[in-house]
Symmetry: C2
Subunit: 384 residues, 2 copies
């Protein structure tokens, strides 16, 4: 039933790594106890849970009690915006979760440049004395474009100092959604200069519906889901022990293999890109080619129907995306492609290829060959 | 390292059933696709996800599009209260999630009787023309007391009819938290007369951090977590496919085995209760003995320190609870025991025994013997 697909859509979902699954396994059956129960086997589960949180914290350079476990990046993002009442600044290529949350606050949506890069000076200009939050994704999920987060952090720090001098008591925070690219980029919070950081387990070969929000100790979070008082009262509900143990292992593997994987994927992606461009010199690469996730390739073939191409490729066993998976099956033009002002023709002819763990030299070459041959047939068909 | 414990705390947490785990398994690796992706393998995952939701809906007598998947009962409860702006009525033995949510609205907290039963006429008296929500647990997690939900539903229906006649446009809903007891009681929404129903997978041998809110189609829910628009826009975030597939299987098993399991557990529980009462005639059973979950026994031994007893029993390999697991390790008197006005002495000497899937005749007999022998030693020690 299930063909041996070549999966080129790692930004949409990732399989759970075998090593991740293995560490989760005991918590489904033998170690199923409620971590809030007082007897020893439950205390042991609590300890394992806390250790996993400690691991997560260490891996991003934070402290265990600065981590709130959530059901994924979307919940983390909602928790951030639920905790601010002031003005917020976001870019026009953020994830729908960020854009929809921002629209519920006084907000400014800044425009990215043609490569999908947020301009630091545009952010600076958008900050008012009432700005409480700036929220940016470390890397865009459609284009793979990496944002100048450290430079934005400098702006935020400068604003904070100015407010201290001027007696403006409104706090200002930088939230970084690092859901995309955590396996390929350094996500140390001090290095990024973030005050809040969102991570998603389901994007890094961990279980789905697990995520975290890291918040520096000076950030005041408003509880979003209240009840038994778990996660320091910020996020109630019986803890997802198996999920968090798996998430910690997944992040550990991602960080461990980051620089190796980054090089490996960039090589495969460059092979793919160069061959596609060679075969179709009219093809357009969108997003920054310099500041881009290693496994990411957003490419458009003018005149081609990207969605049709996707299904043709699927039929040949190659799975790619058009735009982001969230918006992909809703038939509307991606807001990210709108934001970088590419023409409808280019937008319609675009596919997103994201390489990852399941990619290797052999299947990348093979996929490349299939894409080229199918595109040739499509262009042939169109010429008739 | 892990002893062969006799687990008598099924109300706090349950292991994932092997059959549940087996159906979840493929969705961690082979079928890991994002259900929003457009290619066939992802569409197949979407179909499996939707079918699991359909199964969940069918099992409670609802429709698939009336089900919102959440990260558990606490989130479901928050979603209910987040959707109302009017007056709410809850009892004083509800879960902290309900009590804490209710306190954020105009609210009336009605008192239960000495058996922990909600009095229908007290609910009726608490309803004002501005009441929008009545929220009760089908069965209390500490006492196991089953509430007269159908009678409360009658009151709500009558009030709804009266409002229709009087031109009062405020809607009124009955929310039933059926997290406890779904494996032992009928949870058909029409039978219960509920307008909203919360279920929790982690209490019925399903995976943790999965739950649902069923809402009748005329109930308007306010999105609590916004983003990519999943779950009809009410609850965004990439779907927990493995979790929901597992939850559906767990509910199927719970409903299938309900009447058998109810009888089996009642027999074991009665054996336990009768033997403990025979050995310690001064022991006090709290909660209703008539309307009680089959596997539930809340028993107090005057003069005994329940927490000390718990650790002594743990040392002998028997795991019981004092009060509910949520509050158990916080050193405060349970609000449920406060509500039924039992003395401090009785409260302090209480343990909660909840039988379930892991219970059988042999280990129940053995546990009973151990509890009796340890209690005798404790009373001996106290007499000296």
């Amino acid at each position: 039933m299930i063909k041996n697909f070549i999966y080129l859509d790692h930004a949409a979902a990732t399989p759970v790594d075998r090593r991740v699954f293995d560490v989760m396994l005991p918590y489904f059956s033998g170690l199923f106890y409620n971590p809030s129960s007082p007897y020893f086997p439950a205390v042991q589960v609590r300890r394992d849970y806390d250790n996993a949180k400690k691991t997560l914290a260490n891996l991003i350079g934070g402290k265990q009690d600065e981590i709130i476990i959530t059901a994924g990046a979307t919940e983390s993002i909602n928790l951030v915006f639920n905790s601010v009442s002031g003005h917020v600044v976001v870019s026009n290529i953020e994830h729908h979760a960020v854009l929809n949350c921002a629209k519920k606050c006084p907000h400014t949506i800044v425009l990215v440049d043609g490569r999908g890069i947020i301009q630091v000076e545009v952010i600076a200009a958008a900050i008012t004395p009432k700005t409480q939050l700036i929220s940016v994704a470390l890397a865009n999920n459609e284009l793979g474009t990496i944002q100048p987060v450290r430079d934005i952090a400098e702006i935020v720090k400068k604003e904070r100092m100015d407010r201290l001098k001027n007696g403006n008591k409104m706090p200002i925070y930088l939230h970084v959604d690092a859901s995309q690219g955590v396996g390929q980029l350094n996500v140390n919070v001090a290095r990024l200069g973030a005050d809040l950081l969102t991570l998603n387990s389901g994007k890094i070969y961990g279980p789905k519906q697990v995520g975290l929000l890291w918040a520096a100790s000076f950030v005041k979070l408003n509880p979003q889901i209240i009840g038994g008082g778990q996660e320091r009262g910020i996020r109630s509900g019986t803890e997802n022990v198996a999920g968090v143990i798996g998430f910690a292992k997944a992040l550990e593997l991602a960080v461990d293999h980051q620089s190796f994987e980054q090089k490996r994927l960039a090589t495969l992606r460059d092979y793919m890109q160069n061959n596609l461009i060679k075969a179709f010199p009219e093809a357009v690469i969108s997003g920054s080619q310099k500041n881009r996730l290693a496994g990411h390739l957003h490419i458009s073939f003018p005149g081609i129907d990207g969605e049709r191409l996707l299904f043709i490729l699927e039929d040949r066993g190659v799975l790619v995306a058009t735009g982001s998976a969230c918006a992909a099956n809703k038939g509307t033009k991606s807001h990210v492609l709108e934001a970088i002002s590419i023409s409808d023709e280019i937008a319609n002819g675009s596919i997103r290829i994201t390489l990852g763990c399941l990619s290797n030299e052999k299947n990348t070459r093979q996929a490349c060959k299939i894409i080229i041959s199918e595109l040739k047939k499509e262009y042939e068909r169109l010429r008739k």
